[in-house]
């Protein structure tokens, strides 16, 4: 792509997709999906070097792993609108016989997905493995991953964080969706995680923050900078400050919409705040 207006139009359309997908099946996770919309739009349209056709091994391109698989609506919408599969298929989200399972999976062969996620805390280990495979293959591309902040409460992450620094997995950028919310409330109330920046740095990572994680220009600039920090002996962590539920006023600044779909009235209100841009599926 593309100019900023086009990317913002795409982000608006993705938000509509997310809302309509979860509304139709009265289930799914709109809050985190909306909060990460700009990140996904930027990553798949401005940041990653991608081949035209999907293949599992992904040799010769950048790869992305979604660890917090519950925000599948944003992932599916952005993949479909990037051409990985027909946009119309978004209409099958969470329905019987669909490739768009509640949480992403390779099991039904959906292009764009390279590992199942949903049970939290596993994505970073997988991403590190893929990064090591890139090094063995002398493939000079980068691995990206996304994690919820609450997800970092899972211990496996800290095994992975320790490994990546110790063994200099420096072709890897892990982004944390730093929205401060999880299912039962604010992360500071559920299980305070302290200073994530200091923690990652103490483990030996190069840490940077994107303060405006819902501003597409800021996300692009930040992720471009993150890329320049690869190849320097340290894994890179991006703390992406976002607002859960971003773009729908009554869904913002709360954990209430983590895993709840809007009703008919709420959907109408939410869509009115995000007018159709590229055409609904």
């Amino acid at each position: 792509m593309s100019n900023i207006q086009q990317l913002n139009d795409l982000a608006t359309q993705v938000r509509r997709d997310i809302l309509r997908m979860v509304h139709k099946v009265n289930s799914g996770h709109p809050g985190g999906s909306l909060g990460c919309t700009e990140f996904f739009v930027a990553l798949y349209n401005e940041i990653m070097e991608l081949k035209d056709e999907f293949d599992m091994d992904g040799i010769g391109e950048d790869l992305f792993f979604l660890s917090n698989g519950h925000i599948s609506p944003v992932f599916y919408s952005v993949l479909a609108r990037r051409g990985y599969f027909p946009v119309k298929e978004l209409d099958t989200f969470r329905m019987i016989d669909s490739r768009l399972q509640g949480h992403p999976t390779t099991h039904e062969g959906l292009p764009g997905i390279r590992v199942a996620s949903g049970s939290l805390g596993q994505g970073m280990s997988v991403a590190i493995g893929a990064a090591l495979a890139k090094k063995l293959n002398k493939d000079n591309h980068v691995i990206y991953s996304l994690h919820g902040d609450g997800e970092l409460q899972e211990g496996q992450n800290w095994e992975a964080i320790m490994y990546a620094a110790a063994y200099k997995v420096d072709n890897y950028i892990a982004t944390v969706d730093y929205n401060g919310q999880q299912i039962d409330g604010a992360t500071d109330d559920v299980l305070p995680m302290g200073d994530l920046r200091v923690k990652f740095e103490a483990f030996g990572w190069d840490v940077m923050e994107i303060e405006e994680g819902n501003n597409i220009e800021a996300v692009i600039a930040g992720m471009k900078e993150a890329r320049t920090r690869t190849g320097k002996g340290k894994p890179v962590c991006v703390l992406l400050h976002t607002v859960m539920g971003n773009g729908v006023d009554f869904m913002m600044y709360t954990h209430a919409w983590h895993g709840k779909a809007p009703n008919d009235e709420q959907l109408e209100k939410a869509l009115a705040q995000n007018p159709e841009t590229l055409g609904d599926y």
């Binding site: 996620s117 949903g118 280990s125 493995g129 495979a133 063995l136 320790m162 490994y163």
Partner: protein, 317 residues
């Protein structure tokens, strides 16, 4: 009865290590990961010859399983190495989601399975791993019987596309199968033909079954002995063919009878041709410290236990 000769006791984990050495020299896509147990898994030679293809992950098995899944993306064939307990129960959800459900070509190689790791005791003696792993859709479960077969199985699973659980052990056991055997996943091996009873054994209990069969022969009982090295997929045809002839079965394994080979065999029989069956397995219990021989005696896993089970099952025919 057919004679088998023990060419000298060896540990099956060393068979795994020897297989890895061969793979290191022949298959550039094979990589190994280990969670701080290089010496126990006998993979030092692989590491010395292929340092760039070895990943020491430390005492962090969950991360190891995830990394193995990731390494397949890009065409690598990862072999993970740790004890059976830490290869299965400790990391079940990582295997379930990142490997099995994701259909990743990871080889989970598990040493120190069962009671016979010995003195370390019950915390390390997993007797539930076959059950855990065979329940995962798409998982192949292999439990070879001796050093030579473990080496052959290690080499064979690299050629097979899909997740595999390869189980072996710590103690030295009889080494009696051919040195350069071809290992066919899912293919039972008929070791001795008999007419009165079928003994279906897996792992090092195959050797115990052969000793039992010899003792039974002296008593005029003709035992057929089948080596089931692959518990999933199970060679149902071989089992049914044998039991059609003998009319009764004894299964033998170093595992809890809940979830083990015996239950897999029972399912096949019940569905097709019900027959009396006795189980040589642990009786829903944890293990304890002791020497391998003492433990096999106390928990009823040796040739004498198999002999007794045969006598019992014959009465039920």
């Amino acid at each position: 009865m057919k004679k088998y000769t023990d060419t000298g006791k060896k540990d099956t984990r060393s068979g795994f290590g020897a297989g890895m050495t061969v793979l290191g020299r022949t298959n550039p896509n094979v990589v190994a990961l280990c969670a701080d147990l290089i010496g126990s898994l006998k993979i030092q030679e692989f590491i010395d010859e292929n340092p760039e293809r070895f990943f020491q992950v430390g005492i962090a098995e969950a991360n190891m399983m995830g990394m193995a899944a990731g390494l397949t993306i890009g065409g690598k064939i990862p072999f993970t190495g740790t004890f059976a307990n830490f290869s299965t129960g400790r990391v079940y959800d990582q295997i379930r989601q990142s490997i099995a459900y994701s259909g990743k070509n990871v080889k989970i190689c598990a040493s120190h399975a069962g009671l016979t790791l010995g003195e370390d005791g019950a915390t390390h003696q997993i007797l539930e791993d076959i059950g855990l792993m065979k329940m995962l859709p798409g998982m192949t479960v292999i439990n070879p019987c001796d050093y030579n077969q473990t080496k052959a199985a290690t080499i064979a699973i690299a050629e097979y596309e899909g997740p595999v659980y390869l189980r072996f052990g710590r103690p030295t056991v009889a080494n009696f199968t051919p040195e350069d055997q071809k290992f066919e996943i899912g293919k039972a091996l008929l070791l001795n033909e008999g007419t009165d009873v079928t003994i279906i054994a897996t792992g090092h209990l195959v050797w115990e079954a052969l000793i039992a069969a010899e003792a039974l022969e002296a008593k005029g009982i003709s035992a057929e002995v089948i080596n089931i090295h692959t518990i999933k997929p199970l060679d149902e045809e071989a089992i049914l063919k044998s039991v059609a002839k003998t009319g009764c079965v004894v299964t033998a394994e170093e595992h809890n009878y809940y979830g083990g080979l015996g239950e897999s065999v029972a399912r096949v029989l019940v569905k097709n041709q019900p027959a009396p069956q006795e189980f040589v397995a642990t009786n829903d219990t944890f293990g304890e410290s002791g020497t391998p021989a003492q433990l096999m005696e106390k928990y009823g896993l040796n040739n004498k236990a198999i002999e007794k089970a045969v006598e019992k099952v014959l009465k039920r025919k």
